[in-house]
Amino acid sequence: MTTASPVAPVILDSAERRATARLIVDRVSKRFGTGPDAIDALLPIDLAVNGGDFVCIVGPSGCGKSTLLNIVAGFETPTAGIVTLDARAITGPGRERGVVFQQGALFNWMTVEENVAFGPRALGKPAGAALDTARRYIELVGLTGFTRRYPYELSGGMQQRVGIARALANEPEVLLMDEPFAALDQQTRELLQEEIRGIWRRTGKTILWITHSIEEALFLATHVVVMTGRPGRIKAAFETAFSRDPDPLVTTSAAFAEAKRQVVSLLRQESLQAQRQEANA
């Protein structure tokens, strides 16, 4: 490690970051319902993501991190504020933002290659060219040999690879990942985490990643954003360097443990507070 501390606090919406950022979340808040029953899911959030950043958003359950991702994806509209990508406002789903879901988002009536070719087809590529593109990305996620299988014939980890290949096949500017590995077992998850690091390094994609696992966030991210319990807002943000460490076993190092300790203690306070709020409610 070259830096003294493996995690350094960072202000993610500073003026200089905003000046260069591609994806900007600007005073975005979300309230569900109206009147006295309304629930604030997100208090105003500011985020500036540079091209090539790998931003992990960590927070307790129900903190609105998925809501934030859904807003960036264009599935939900913010109550206030705006999200822009390359200075264009986001008003709905779009191919420049590829989304990988936790599970259950694959098309079971299509083979693996048809799933991955769906995006290129939607963009108007002829069937043959779309399949060629699909096979390239299937190879990238290591599923050559399974192109003609149906998703339900594959393991959970392989299904997530299909989901990643499908999102990548449209060559999106940003990848949005909503706890993509949460439903997988530990070994599969660790293996896929390593691979997603590899894919990120090779493709230089900008990634916004939702997780409740601090370890996952520290291992993958260039920037870790810690959110508070509901209503969600940003509690702290860190810059980390572990994602650039070539050692896949970096998670067992002392520096990693220390970094985790810092983030865990922050998140612990939040979880406790969230529980107390629930008990009082």
Binding site: F101, A105, L106, M110, F118, R121, L123
Partner: protein, 265 residues
């Protein structure tokens, strides 16, 4: 052999055994020429008598029509009604599932008429549509249409929003989302609705052929009952049972072939 396959094989044998026991009980109480019948043959003829009657009917026909004619005319009545219900009911159901406006318009008439026993409407249909094929077809349609359209509606509404979101963020147009996501994702539910309505449709034949007819398998059974020809009644009943069972098997087979992804999410 795997445990699952062994269980499947065992259950198949149990199914045969269950059928064999029913047949043996029938043979036992009716004597079947082996011993004195335990019940009056007029009320319950033996399987042998029923088989002989079937051969006789197949050979000589019943009341001026061949047995094949009775069978085919019943199949046609059911088939036409079923085809119309699928051709109209599935699109209507899909529309209701996708548009809350369409649901607001179409749901009340379907839901209000659903609990009405459709056979009770038959006299009315005969007044409106005459004693020909039309009133018979319509009474079967009224029974099947709600089943098929509502199952299509529920199927499309049950499509996971994630799949739709995924398609949207891959740049798919609404037409492409319908054709390649909503429709295939709803097919398993649509198939279930069709399979259920096959059974009910065959049952409805009895009602449709109750009045103002002179052919059909159900009509044959009903007419024979008036003359206490229980052997002919049983031939008619068994033909309908076999028809219903066969159609159900065909649909199950189609289901595993056509919608292989059913229930595998």
């Amino acid at each position: 052999m795997s445990v699952a396959r062994r269980t499947a094989r065992r259950n198949q044998l149990l199914g045969f055994a269950s059928f064999a026991v029913m047949l043996l009980a029938w043979i036992a109480v009716t004597g079947s020429g082996l011993w004195t019948p335990l019940v009056n043959p007029t009320f319950l003829p033996s399987p042998v008598t029923v088989a002989n009657t079937f051969m006789r009917l197949a050979d000589k026909g019943y009341q001026g029509h061949t047995l094949l004619h009775h069978f085919l005319i019943s199949l046609m009545r059911f088939g036409i009604a079923f085809a119309i219900c699928v051709a109209v009911g599935v699109p209507v159901g899909l529309l209701m599932g996708m548009s809350s406006g369409a649901r607001a318009v179409l749901d009340p008439p379907i839901e209000i008429t659903r609990p009405i026993p459709k056979l009770a409407l038959l006299p009315l249909f005969i007044i409106w549509f005459g004693i020909g094929e039309l009133s018979k077809t319509i009474v079967i349609i009224t029974a099947l249409f709600p089943l098929i359209s509502i199952s299509a509606m529920q199927a499309v509404r049950a499509v996971s929003v994630r799949k739709i979101h995924a398609a949207q963020s891959l740049g798919a147009s609404p037409a492409m989302i319908f054709r390649r996501v909503l429709l295939p994702a709803s097919l398993p539910g649509i198939f279930t609705g069709m399979r259920v309505s096959v059974g009910i449709g065959v049952t409805m034949l009895v009602g449709a052929e109750m009045v103002a007819t002179s052919d059909g398998v159900a009509w044959m059974a009903l007419t024979a009952a008036d003359f206490v020809q229980t052997d002919i009644v049983l031939v008619g009943v068994l033909i309908m049972a076999v028809l219903g069972y066969t159609l159900d098997r065909i649909f199950r087979m189609l289901e595993t072939r056509v919608v292989h992804w059913s229930g595998r999410d």
